[in-house]
């Protein structure tokens, strides 16, 4: 039984505020949101287009900017599937089985969310830098991780690994094991069970987590900044490139590239909203249960 929903717009007068208060509260809320979310976006686009459309386009077509774009996309293409694999595996393990230390496991998964990205980047620097634990081992084999693309990939994996898992774990826990167990009893293999039974139930949460993971993978700055080496055209991701341009008195170009990232952010929000609509519809029907009873 849901609370007072605004979709219907109908609310019992006894349990709501006076119109004046309502309007006042809405006003404050909208002002707050506008100040903190809309205005910064507007500033980015205004700054980007201030020098004219031609400079805007040439900033985006600049070879270093394109390399940064390529690098960011490459990193996302590697990081997101890997974290997807992890998210699914972790959610399956946590939701379908009982074992000790489950709490600890989920807490560890949350760690990248709670710590500063700079610390994350530094940890990998301590591992893979020339003075690091694996430093000489890597040097001997001529493998570059720090100051090179693999380092950026690894660090981005660290920063974004909770996202998909955190979407799936509570959902799969909520959904319980009955359907999967039934499938197994009826003779399905583990893989078939996952694909035919679990996947359809979690696909929207999966998609939601994927979109979020992707946005964060492209946008990560602090951790990548530590390990990147800032080599223009080689190890600068888009956010790092924005910083580089900003440091070169080139604010028009910096905002131009930033506007690209902002467009991506807005697209992310739109996709999330779209997926979210499907998600809530699905959760409600799932909650109703096969026999119409609440679980």
């Amino acid at each position: 039984m849901s609370g007072v929903h605004t979709q219907s717009g109908r609310v019992s007068l006894a349990i709501t505020e006076s119109r004046a208060i309502r309007l006042g509260l809405i006003g404050i809320a909208v002002l707050f949101l506008g100040l903190f979310t809309v205005l910064p976006l507007v500033v980015v686009f205004v700054g980007a287009l201030r020098a004219g459309v031609r400079i805007y386009l040439s900033s985006l077509r600049n070879p270093d900017a394109l390399s940064a774009l390529r690098l960011s996309i490459t990193v996302a293409l590697i990081v997101v599937p890997l974290n997807l694999l992890f998210g699914v595996a972790a959610a399956w393990a946590v939701a379908k089985f009982e074992f000790r230390g489950k709490r600890i496991l989920t807490t560890i998964i949350d760690i990248p969310l709670a710590i500063s990205p700079v610390i994350g980047g530094m940890a990998f620097m301590l591992l893979f830098g020339a003075q690091g634990w694996f430093g000489s081992w890597l040097r001997e084999r001529d493998i570059s991780i720090a100051f090179a693309v693999p380092g950026i990939v690894i660090v981005t994996i660290f920063v974004t690994l909770p996202f998909i898992a955190r979407q799936l774990i509570p959902l799969m826990r909520e959904q319980g094991n009955e359907e999967e167990e039934t499938a197994v009893i009826l003779g399905a293999s583990g893989w078939q069970t996952f694909v035919r039974v679990t996947l359809p139930n979690i696909r929207w949460a999966l998609l939601y987590g994927l979109i979020l993971c992707n946005a964060r993978a492209i946008g990560e700055f602090g951790a990548v900044s530590v390990i990147s080496g800032h080599i223009r055209g080689v190890t600068n991701t888009l956010p790092l490139h924005v910083e580089e341009l900003y440091n070169e008195y080139n604010s028009a170009a910096a905002f131009a590239v930033a506007s690209l990232l902002s467009l991506l952010a807005v697209l992310t929000l739109v996709l999330q909203k779209f997926v979210g609509l499907h998600q809530s519809g699905e959760r409600r029907s799932r909650k109703a249960g096969p026999e119409g009873s609440e679980s």
Binding site: T74, L77, I78, P81, L82, M125, G129, A130, Q131, G135, R139, D142, I143, S144, A146, F147, A148, V149, P150, V153, V195, G229, H230, I231, R232, G233, V234, Y246, N247, E248, Y249, S251
Partner: protein, 340 residues
């Protein structure tokens, strides 16, 4: 394999893409090398690299791609020590390259003798940049310690330029008051007027120019001239102090890395290019004082005569200066009390 579904195939493709792209991204392209440089030289090397690429192609037919990395000189040196694979380093002071040679054993210890002028193809000096109209009426170094004056300079721990700044101030005080203790007192009072230490010379310029913090910026001459050019003489003006330090930013091939990459020859040619007429002209155009006398005459208006002292004369060389002032527990650590 026969039970593979679509998703298995996708996964296999993704996996092989991953494994395929990763080595490709780390591998070197043929005739490409990395120039790890200090903070203000972005514009300079953009021009140099284009000119050198044209020159090299004319000479050998090969296409060369030069990547750049910029940052505070000290920070860059330590990055190279930590594994940043520079074929060539073009840093702000000899000490930083010496660190790479001694600690990292990445190039020969006598690297400085390999190229003319102690491997410094151009020089610069330290000047002051103030707001247009000089509202705080700053004339020379001693105005920087006036109460209420905000001074912007970079962090000597990470920036090469910042160390030149510090030594220039110290040298001025020595020439003015004669004693080491007076100099230390002067520099202490100067740094008390410094609210923030950026990581590199360019970052400090950004703080002064873009963020609008500070009344005066102590920086490289080339950086100050560039600021005037970029922002217009309507915003900032250069103040040439009565005396300053001769800054000689050196360049070197990182032997071990260049040998490994096979870029030895092209890297050496690249550095030698900096001494050619073309290279010197580009340097002068980008506000670096060329070694070539002919060009010095041509650009005499841009580079006013300043009374200059050197690190060797006043401080006994960089090794001594670094140990005394900038090492952990050195004089800078003692005098810089942030926020006090």
């Amino acid at each position: 394999m026969k039970n593979w579904k679509k998703h298995d195939i996708y996964f296999a493709i993704l996996l092989s893409l991953t494994l395929g792209t990763a080595p490709r991204l780390c591998a070197q392209k043929p005739v490409a090398f990395l120039n790890v440089s200090y903070d203000p030289t972005r514009e300079l090397y953009r021009e140099i690299n284009a000119a050198f690429a044209a020159y090299w192609e004319r000479k050998t037919g090969a296409i060369v791609t030069i990547s750049q990395s910029h940052g505070g000189s000290g920070k860059q040196a330590r990055a190279v020590l930590d594994g940043l694979e520079a074929d060539v380093v073009t840093l702000a002071l000899a000490y930083d390259i010496n660190e790479i040679a001694w600690r990292g054993k990445l190039l020969a210890v006598d690297w400085q003798a390999r190229l003319p002028y102690g491997s410094a193809p151009y020089t610069s000096t330290i000047v002051l940049l103030v707001r247009k109209g000089n509202p705080k009426r700053i004339r020379d170094w001693d105005d920087l310690v006036r109460p209420g004056i905000t001074v912007i300079t970079a962090n000597p721990k990470t920036s090469g330029g910042a160390r030149w700044n510090y030594l220039a101030a110290w040298g001025y005080a020595l020439s003015r008051w004669g004693s080491e203790s007076a100099a230390q007192d002067f520099v202490r009072r100067l740094y008390r007027n410094v609210p923030v230490l950026d990581v590199g010379a360019r970052a400090a310029t950004t703080t002064f120019v873009e963020r609008g913090i500070g009344d005066v910026l102590i920086t490289w001459e080339n950086e100050a001239l560039l600021a005037v050019k970029e922002l217009g003489p309507a915003k900032v003006e250069i103040l040439t102090p009565s005396v300053s330090i001769l800054a000689e930013p050196p360049v070197a091939v990182v032997d071990k890395v260049a040998k490994k990459h096979g870029t030895d020859a092209v890297a050496r040619a690249y550095l030698e290019f900096l001494y050619t007429d073309r290279g010197q002209e580009i340097a002068a155009r980008n506000f670096y004082r060329p070694r070539s006398e002919q060009l010095q005459n041509k650009y005499t208006r841009q580079f006013p005569k300043i009374s200059l002292f050197t690190v060797d004369n006043v401080f006994g060389g960089w090794t001594k200066a670094q140990a005394k002032h900038f090492a952990d527990g050195g004089i800078f650590d003692k005098i810089y009390q942030p926020g006090r």
